[in-house]
């Protein structure tokens, strides 16, 4: 009953357009005052401060910044040229290039919106120019961008790892195979479309061109690979790796490509700072509510009441998948993770679901949520670039969403898909 009342109040405030972070804070303050009295109010300030001093979350601004600097340094163009040399000979070459570049860009960026904004602004107009329908161009770019949150680094994964108190590194490693599978699946679907609608090939395969574009782009994806490697092997933590990624991005932008200017760097820092603050304010106010939830053991009560009906792991996984797919349609992924993960995690643990496995499932679900209207941040950006109607694009995108759903089901019910590497290297 209490949980319904709490979430009902948060929902009511959110629906009248109170920012979600403030809605959480207001409800938490009322709950704290009701249960502990006015004298406990100074704890609000302490919790709001401590909630924002979370060392692993430092990786978020640093990875956002590194991605923005890399993008401002002209790496998108180089990654696209390399992807075109490797994949452009296949029918529907530009669609393949879009997916391939997204996979490369995903190892630099942890954000699907950054991915679609950086690559889509080049590739969507290019596809339209070659005669691809704008709905297809937007759909393929949008769904491919989801790979950015599955392939490491990934901002939602960092957030989940902190909320669920699991290793960021294990979360990153769990995303590698599903990310590659997702990429290959999307390419397969794009190929099917290309054969059916006779989309053109992009360029003839030439090894010399592959080598030339590889040399030009090598800094852009080798350096992030080295940094990810250092994180995976434990030489540095995810946060430290993120700081090294910023240094590497600056080195590439200022010394190697010499395309990064102060104006872009300034914009990247301000954008990165604002986006971090928005997520972190949510984290801080949710920690306020978290204190109350922990005290009254609400998540544990929820787990117990669901366990009364079923303790079958696969049924619970199905229910959680449906919950997160629905949430993804209406909530931004950061908000969904911060709000819901602490509440449902005890339930997942109580039926024996591995928290890293669960995190991967949540991430893919919310990645799909970025493709499903009405709240579909990535799809919106792709549609804006393509100047296409969101529902028209969705009619085509539904096929690509189908591929991502297949990956989700595989990850959910064949846990080795994501967890194989984690089990092999870390357990």
């Amino acid at each position: 009953m209490t949980i319904l009342l709490l979430f009902g109040c948060v929902l009511a405030l959110v629906l009248i357009n109170v920012p979600i972070a403030v809605a959480l804070g207001v409800v938490a303050v009322v709950a704290i005052v009701v249960s502990h009295g006015v004298d406990s109010l100074p704890n609000v300030a302490l919790t709001m401060f401590n909630g924002a001093t979370n060392f692993p979350l430092l990786a978020i601004p640093l990875f956002i910044l590194a991605g923005a600097i890399m993008n401002a340094s002209g790496i998108s163009r180089r990654l696209i040229a390399f992807a075109s040399a490797v994949l452009g000979f296949i029918r529907g070459g530009l669609a393949m290039v879009s997916i391939g570049s997204s996979m490369f860009f995903a190892e630099i960026s942890g954000s699907a919106v950054a991915d679609v904004a950086a690559l889509g602004s080049i590739l969507i107009p290019a596809m339209k120019k070659k005669g691809y329908p704008k709905a297809f161009a937007a759909a393929v770019m949008s769904s491919a961008a989801t790979l950015a949150v599955i392939i490491p680094p990934s901002i939602p994964m960092i957030l989940y790892a902190v909320m669920a108190d699991v290793s960021v590194v294990q979360m990153f490693v769990a995303g590698i195979v599903p990310g590659i599978l997702g990429g290959l699946g999307l390419m397969g679907m794009a190929y099917w479309f290309a054969r059916r609608h006779h989309y053109p090939i992009e360029e003839v395969f030439r090894l010399a061109r592959v080598w030339a574009t590889f040399k030009d782009a090598s800094w852009a994806f080798m350096l992030p690979l080295i940094i990810l490697g250092s994180i995976f092997t434990g030489i540095v933590t995810a946060t430290e790796g993120a700081a090294l990624a910023v240094v590497a991005a600056l080195f590439i932008g200022l010394v190697v490509y010499r395309e990064l200017d102060w104006k872009h760097l300034k914009e990247a820092m301000i954008e990165g700072g604002v986006q971090t603050a928005v997520v972190m304010l949510l984290v801080a106010t949710s920690s306020l509510l978290g204190v109350y939830l922990t005290e009254v053991q609400l998540p544990q009560q929820l787990a117990a009441s669901v366990s009364d009906y079923t303790s079958n792991k696969y049924v619970v996984l199905l229910l959680l998948n449906i919950l997160f797919l629905m949430l993804g349609m209406f909530l931004h992924s950061a908000a969904a993770i911060i709000l819901v993960v602490p509440v449902v995690l005890p339930l997942a643990l109580s039926v024996g679901i591995d928290p890293v496995h669960f995190g991967l499932i949540v991430t893919i679900n919310l990645g799909i949520g970025q493709q499903t209207p009405p709240v579909a941040s990535v799809l919106m950006v792709a549609c804006t670039i393509a100047k296409a109607d969101i529902w028209e694009v969705t009619k085509t995108n539904i096929y690509f969403i189908g591929v991502l759903l297949a990956v989700l089901l595989m990850v959910t019910y064949v846990p080795i898909t994501g967890m194989g590497l984690v089990e092999y290297f870390y357990r």
Binding site: L13, L15, I16, N17, V18, P19, I20, A21, V22, A23, G25, V26, V29, L41, P42, V44, A45, L46, M48, F49, A52, T53, N54, F55, L58, I60, P61, L62, I64, A68, S111, V113, A114, A117, I155, T239, E240, A242, A243, L244, V246, V247, M269, I270, E271, G273, V274, Q275, T276, A277, V278, M280, L281, L282, H332, S333, A334, Q370, P374, S377
Partner: protein, 171 residues
């Protein structure tokens, strides 16, 4: 006048956010370099965490000015004007109320923490690090107040600005 004040305030917050982003990246990098040389800086993770908290609250004020906090304007926007305006006022009132409370309790806590010091830097009082709560709350209130005329105009006209355009790169 209001526009000039707004521009000046935005520049100020942007400079603070940039300085904090540079400080964060530099501090963590220096920490890694020192550790690889075999010298661990005792204060490295405590200071980095404090910088993140500072970035959170100064950045949150800038995000409020840019109306970048995640919200759901759809329902209010769809309502008739006579319902829309009171609900917008309630929402704004709650935001102001929450941050006023935070500023007040933040100041109270600063007094309490006057004799509390950082673990890794025992000469630095927690009062200074914690100051970000009342300062950040006041800056948030100023940002919200600077947006208020436009918010009310939009509410009357039925064009409530989408709040979450800028946040989405964190998705």
């Amino acid at each position: 006048m209001l526009m000039r004040l707004r521009t000046w305030f935005e520049r100020l917050l942007e400079v603070i956010v940039m300085v904090l982003m540079i400080a964060l990246a530099a501090e963590v990098t220096i920490g890694v370099i020192y550790r690889t040389m075999g010298i661990s800086l005792a204060w490295y993770d405590e200071i980095a965490s404090i910088l993140l908290a500072w970035l959170t609250y100064y950045g949150a004020a800038l995000a409020a000015l840019k109306r970048a906090h995640i919200g759901v304007p759809g329902l209010v926007q769809a309502l008739p004007r006579r319902l829309r305006l009171p609900l917008v006022l309630v929402a704004e009132g709650l935001v102001f109320g929450f941050f006023l409370l935070l500023a007040w309790v933040g100041l109270e806590v600063m007094d309490m923490l006057a004799t509390d010091f950082l673990i890794s830097l025992p000469d630095v009082s927690s009062k200074y690090t914690q100051s970000v709560i009342p300062i950040g709350a006041v800056l948030f209130i100023i940002a919200q107040a600077l947006n208020l005329p436009e918010t009310l105009r939009a509410a009357k006209a039925g064009h409530i600005k989408h709040q979450a355009e800028a946040v989405e790169v964190s998705q």
